[in-house]
């Protein structure tokens, strides 16, 4: 990884770092100007007695943030796009040469809905950084996805709430099946114990509650689907691998098996593969994080042994 980093990426990173320092400097300057301007503006308005005190402060902070936000987006957009073209794409190719990367692509809304992982209807669907390709016999794709729903408070102000934000991964599954099996984090049982599991059995929207024969898995996850088929898909080793994967990510993991495909969603609650503007790009630790994340995502195929096909699906 180090060789690849110095051989293929270091020059680009150096050029990008220049870019970043310039942008960072610009942003700091803008911030200073905006503060100065706000101060003068406040002083004029209060001396003219148009507005005063708290209201004035609120107005100023609001305007200042708005202007800064606009400038920030403008400055960073180009840098972000360059960073993805030059750095993220190289990281993808380092992990596997055959993979394709599309910085503007995303998992489609149809696929998101089909996965049945998040049944709450969304008002905004966004995503980027689509990686796709064939790893041995298994076709995979994944991207960053962010879904939100909208609420309005009594003043008519709009609020956005995140339903899911993080990695959304789809691959062929190595067993054929017809039904739907959905594995979700078991919030209810973790909090309420036995009563929680009773409550789960009442909700039928995702199918019938299936009890699995692995106590640790049963404690972490709740499974909906058809009794025998869920056991067929979730073999003992599969349950163990899912538990391992969850431990590795330290995040909530959602998995479903539908139409011979596996859908995996990892709730990071942040955008993945985005550059950090206030930290140096030349620190290896910074870039290593992207490498590791990409390796982990592509590694799902290996982790869940998706290439080890059952006889009927060779």
């Amino acid at each position: 990884m180090m060789d690849y980093y110095y051989g293929n990426m270091y020059e680009d990173l150096k050029a990008l770092e220049q870019n970043r320092i310039r942008i960072y400097g610009n942003l700091k300057r803008y911030a200073m100007y905006i503060c100065l301007f706000c101060f003068i503006f406040m002083w004029i308005l209060s001396s003219l007695n148009v507005m005063k005190g708290f209201e004035l402060l609120v107005l100023n902070v609001f305007l200042g943030t708005l202007v800064f936000g606009f400038l920030y987006r403008n400055e960073v957009a180009g840098f972000k796009s360059l960073f993805k073209d030059q750095i993220i794409e190289k990281i993808v190719h380092f992990v596997d040469k055959s993979l394709q990367y599309d910085k503007n692509g995303k998992i489609s809304e149809d696929e998101y809905t089909k996965s049945m992982l998040f049944t709450k209807s969304y008002d905004r669907y966004r995503g980027d950084d689509l990686v796709s390709g064939m790893l041995d016999k298994t076709s995979i794709k994944f991207s960053d996805i962010h879904t939100e729903y909208e609420t309005k408070d009594k003043d008519g102000k709009t609020h956005w709430h995140t339903i899911f934000q993080g990695l959304f991964f789809i691959a062929d599954f190595h067993k054929d099946f017809n039904g739907k099996t959905v594995v979700l984090p078991d919030f209810a049982q973790r909090v309420f114990g036995g009563i929680g599991s009773w409550m789960q059995s009442l909700g039928k929207s995702k199918g019938k509650l299936v009890k699995m024969d692995d106590p640790e898995f049963e404690k972490e996850f709740v499974v909906y689907g058809e009794q025998i088929e869920s056991h067929y898909i979730l073999s003992h080793s599969m349950m163990e691998r899912i538990l391992n994967f969850k431990k590795k990510t330290h995040k909530n993991v959602y998995i479903s098996f539908i139409d011979s495909k596996i859908y995996v969603a990892v709730d990071y609650r942040k955008e993945l593969f985005e550059p950090v503007i206030y930290k140096s790009l030349l620190e290896f630790g910074q870039i290593k994080g992207y490498f590791e994340m990409m390796e982990m995502f592509v590694g799902i195929v290996e982790e869940f042994r998706l290439n080890t096909r059952v006889w009927s699906k060779e």
Partner: protein
């Protein structure tokens, strides 16, 4: 008087809920057993083909083949209790497993395309059977818990519900193959 009626109403409601839970659990067991039975039957259906394709090669296994065929016809007779079916299946699985191991002694057979196809189908079926057994055992455990735990046990006693047996061969299947141990033997 009203309070008394409310108490009676609540008790009646609890009894109804408990009764329904018990019936649901019992039906669940039966339902999954039917699913298991279906995959088991698929395996039994595969057997005549298997026997036909191996018997000319496996001359020394003649008695085993006859025994397996006899077991199959026994299993396909109607009117067996689920316990009897489970026992038959355990013996059948064991003999079939043994037969598949002895295939190693017949290189010609291992090269036979028809046999290979059958073997693949069989191993796929074995996996489905194992899944069905696990689902069945889980539902039986659920059911057994319900009929032994308070307060459902009182009702279960009145309804004449008794404990059901789980498949026991599972433990052996669950253990990973210890390759090192195999070589040392």
């Amino acid at each position: 008087m009203l309070a008394f009626l409310i108490v009676i109403g609540v008790i009646a409601l609890i009894v109804v809920v408990l009764y329904n839970t018990l019936v649901a659990k019992k039906n669940q067991v039966e339902n999954i057993f039917a699913g298991l039975d279906a995959v088991l039957k698929k395996r039994y259906d595969l057997l005549p083909n298997l026997v036909a394709s191996v018997q000319e090669y496996m001359v020394h296994e003649k008695t085993t083949l006859e025994k397996i065929t006899a077991l199959r016809s026994q299993a396909l007779q109607g009117g067996l209790s689920s316990e009897a079916k489970m026992e038959l299946d355990a013996t059948f699985s064991k003999m079939l497993g043994g037969l598949m191991v002895s295939v190693e002694n017949y290189p010609d057979l291992k090269a036979n395309q028809n046999f290979l196809h059958l073997q693949h189908t069989l191993s796929e079926l074995e996996e489905q059977i194992s899944a069905a057994r696990r689902a069945y055992n889980q539902s039986v455990t659920d059911y057994n818990n319900a009929i032994e735990m308070f307060p459902t046990n009182i009702l279960a006693g009145m309804m004449n519900y008794t404990r059901k047996k789980v498949f026991e061969s599972l433990e052996q299947e669950r253990a990973n193959v210890d390759v090192k141990n195999l070589f040392q033997k």
